[in-house]
Symmetry: C2
Subunit: 243 residues, 2 copies
DNA sequence: GTGACTTTGTGCATCGGTTCACAAAGGCGT
DNA sequence: ACGCCTTTGTGAACCGATGCACAAAGTCAC
C-alpha cells in the first residue's frame, strides 16, 4: 500500500489542481461537512455570496479557522467580497467525495437499524442505502423502508455487484467485531460503528464510531463540575455569612 | 461564574484527594468512558488486575497515552503490577460523575426518539430516562417503553421536581434550536443533539452532538482518497508496462 | 532480607492545531 | 483611472496533545 502510494507521487506535479493538495489536516476534514451544511442553508435562502465571518458564524467556528481550513483546498474566495456559495459548496463536496453516491449497507435491523433505514438523511447528501442485513432469519421475510432484509451471506456479492463501499454496524456490541470482520472480508474498507466497543481492523480500513454513551458521560463530567462549583460557591457564601 | 469558581479555589488544598485535580485535559476526559468500558469488560471476565499495556490495548490506545491520562486523576496504579480493575473503574466513574444517576429527558419521539427510548444503554451506566417529550399532541396518548409522552410545557417542572439535568434533542433540525432554547429556559445545562445543525447556547451550557452524516462524510473523504490512490497505482503500473 | 524484574509516572522533545495580526489582493465608488 | 475600503490568505507565535524514554517504586522469588 505504501509503495503503491509512492508510485503515484511523481504524478502530483502535473495534476490539474493548482494548490498543494496533499494532506488536508484531519481537524479540517472533520469540519468540512459542517461548512457544507451551512453553505446549503445559505443557498436555500437564496444567498449567493458569503464572507468568512458569516459562514464561520453559521458553522459555529472562528473566521480565522474557517479561512485557514478553506485555504487547504485552494483559493476559492475573492478578497474584499467573500465566497460564492454554490462554487464553494461544490468544491467542498468534491473534496469530500460527495459528487458521487456511495453505496451503504446497514447491518443489524433492531431498534436503531430500523430508525437508520427509515432515515432520509442518507440520501440527501451523497449516500445511498443499497442493502439491509441481519443474522436473524425471521427478519428475512420482511421489507423495511422498501428494502428486503438479507442474510449476512449476501455481503460479498453486494461489494462486487453494487460497489458497496461503506458498512454501518448497528448490532449489539458482542456481535460487532464479528460483523466487522465479515464486512472487511467482503472488501468493505469504511465502517461506521454504532456499537459501544472498539473494533480492530487491518491497515487500510477506516472505522469511525458514533457513541451515544461516551457523549453522555462527557456531558456528565462537565455537569458534575458545574454542580460542584455551584455547591462550592454556596459553601463559601455560607461560611462568609457565619463568620 | 468565573468569580464563583475562584471563590472555591482556596478549599482545594483541604479537599480529600491528594493530586492536582483541577483541569483534566479535554482529550483525556473524552477517553475516560472508553477506559471505563474496557475495565467493565475485564471485570466481567473476572480479571482483577491489568497493566497499562493490557488496558490500553482493550481501549485502542497506546499505553503511554493511557498512563498519562490516568496520571491526571491521581496515582492509582502499583508499579511492577498494574491497576486494580474495580478500584480504577470506581475512580474513573467518580471522576466522570457516574456514581450518581443523571436524570435525562428525550425530546422528539420520532423514529430516532423511539429507538433511544427503548435503548437499555442509558440505564447501564449512570443515566435514567425520566421523561419523553414531543410537540405532537397525538403522541401524548401513548406510552413508549413504559413512559408517557408529555407536552413541552412539562419541562420546567421536570427540572425542579425530578432534577432533570440532561436533555437529548431528537427532533428535525428545523426545530432543534427552538427545543434547545426551551430546555435552557427550563434550566437544563447539558444537551446532547442528534439533529444535524449547530445550536447556539448561552455560556455555562454544554452542547455535544452525535452526527451520523458528518461521520459518513469523513469516511467518504478517506474512501475517495483510497480509491484515487488505487486508481493512481493502476495508472502507474499501466504506464510502466506500456513503456 | 535482598536483589532482580516489572511496570508505573513523568520530564522532555515533538507534533499538529489554533489564534493573531497584517500584507496582498481585488472590487467599487467617485 | 485611481485610490479607498473590505476581506482574504498566510506567516509566525502560541497552546495543547502525543510519543519517547527512563528513573523511581514496588513486587516477588528465593
Ligand atoms: N437503540 C438505540 O437508541 C441505540 C443508541 C445508541 C447505540 N446503540 C447501539 O446500537 C446497537 C444496536 O442497538 P439496538 O437497540 O438496535 O439493538 P437490537 O438488539 O434492537 O438490535 C440488534 C440487531 O442486530 C442483529 N444481530 C445480532 N447479532 C448479529 C450478527 N452477528 N450479525 C448480524 N446481525 C446481528 C439482531 O438480530 C438484531 O436485529 C447496539 O450496539 C447499541 O448499543 C443503540
Ligand atoms: N432516524 C435516524 O436514524 C436518524 C439518524 C441520525 C440523525 N437523525 C436526526 O435525528 C432527528 C430526528 O430524526 P427522526 O428520524 O426521529 O425524525 P422524525 O421526523 O421521525 O421525528 C421527529 C419528532 O420530533 C417531533 N418534533 C418536531 N418539532 C418539535 C418541537 N418543536 N418540539 C418537540 N417535538 C418536536 C415530531 O413531532 C416528531 O415526533 C433529525 O434531526 C434527524 O436528522 C435521525
Amino acid at each position: 500500500m505504501r509503495t503503491l502510494h509512492e508510485l503515484k507521487e511523481p504524478e502530483k506535479t502535473l495534476s490539474a489542481d493548482p494548490s498543494a493538495r496533499r494532506g488536508i489536516p484531519d481537524a479540517t476534514v472533520a469540519r468540512l461537512p459542517e461548512y457544507l451544511r451551512a453553505l446549503t442553508g445559505f443557498a436555500e435562502r437564496g444567498i449567493t455570496s458569503v464572507s468568512s465571518e458569516e459562514l464561520a458564524a453559521a458553522a459555529g467556528v472562528r473566521s480565522a479557522k474557517l479561512r485557514k481550513d478553506l485555504s487547504h483546498l485552494g483559493s476559492y474566495g475573492v478578497r474584499g467580497v467573500g465566497y460564492e456559495v454554490d462554487h464553494l459548496a461544490y468544491q467542498i463536496s468534491r473534496e469530500l467525495g460527495l459528487t458521487q453516491d456511495w453505496p451503504v449497507a446497514i447491518v443489524g435491523m433492531g431498534n436503531l437499524g430500523h430508525a437508520l433505514a427509515a432515515y432520509s438523511g442518507f440520501a440527501t447528501r451523497g449516500f445511498r442505502v443499497v442493502a439491509l442485513l441481519d443474522q436473524d432469519t425471521v427478519l428475512h421475510e420482511q421489507e423495511i423502508a422498501g428494502l428486503p432484509v438479507q442474510p449476512m451471506e449476501a455481503l460479498p456479492s453486494l461489494v462486487t455487484d453494487q460497489g458497496l463501499a461503506i458498512g454501518v454496524i448497528a448490532t449489539p456490541a458482542a456481535s460487532a467485531q464479528s460483523v466487522c470482520d465479515q464486512l472487511v472480508a467482503a472488501g468493505v474498507r469504511s465502517i461506521l460503528n454504532f456499537a459501544p466497543c472498539v473494533l480492530v481492523v487491518p491497515e487500510g480500513v477506516d472505522v469511525r464510531k458514533v457513541d451515544l454513551s461516551t457523549e453522555l458521560q462527557i456531558l456528565a463530567f462537565h455537569e458534575q463540575r458545574k454542580s460542584l462549583a455551584a455547591q462550592g460557591a454556596l459553601d463559601a457564601v455560607a461560611e462568609a455569612v457565619s463568620r
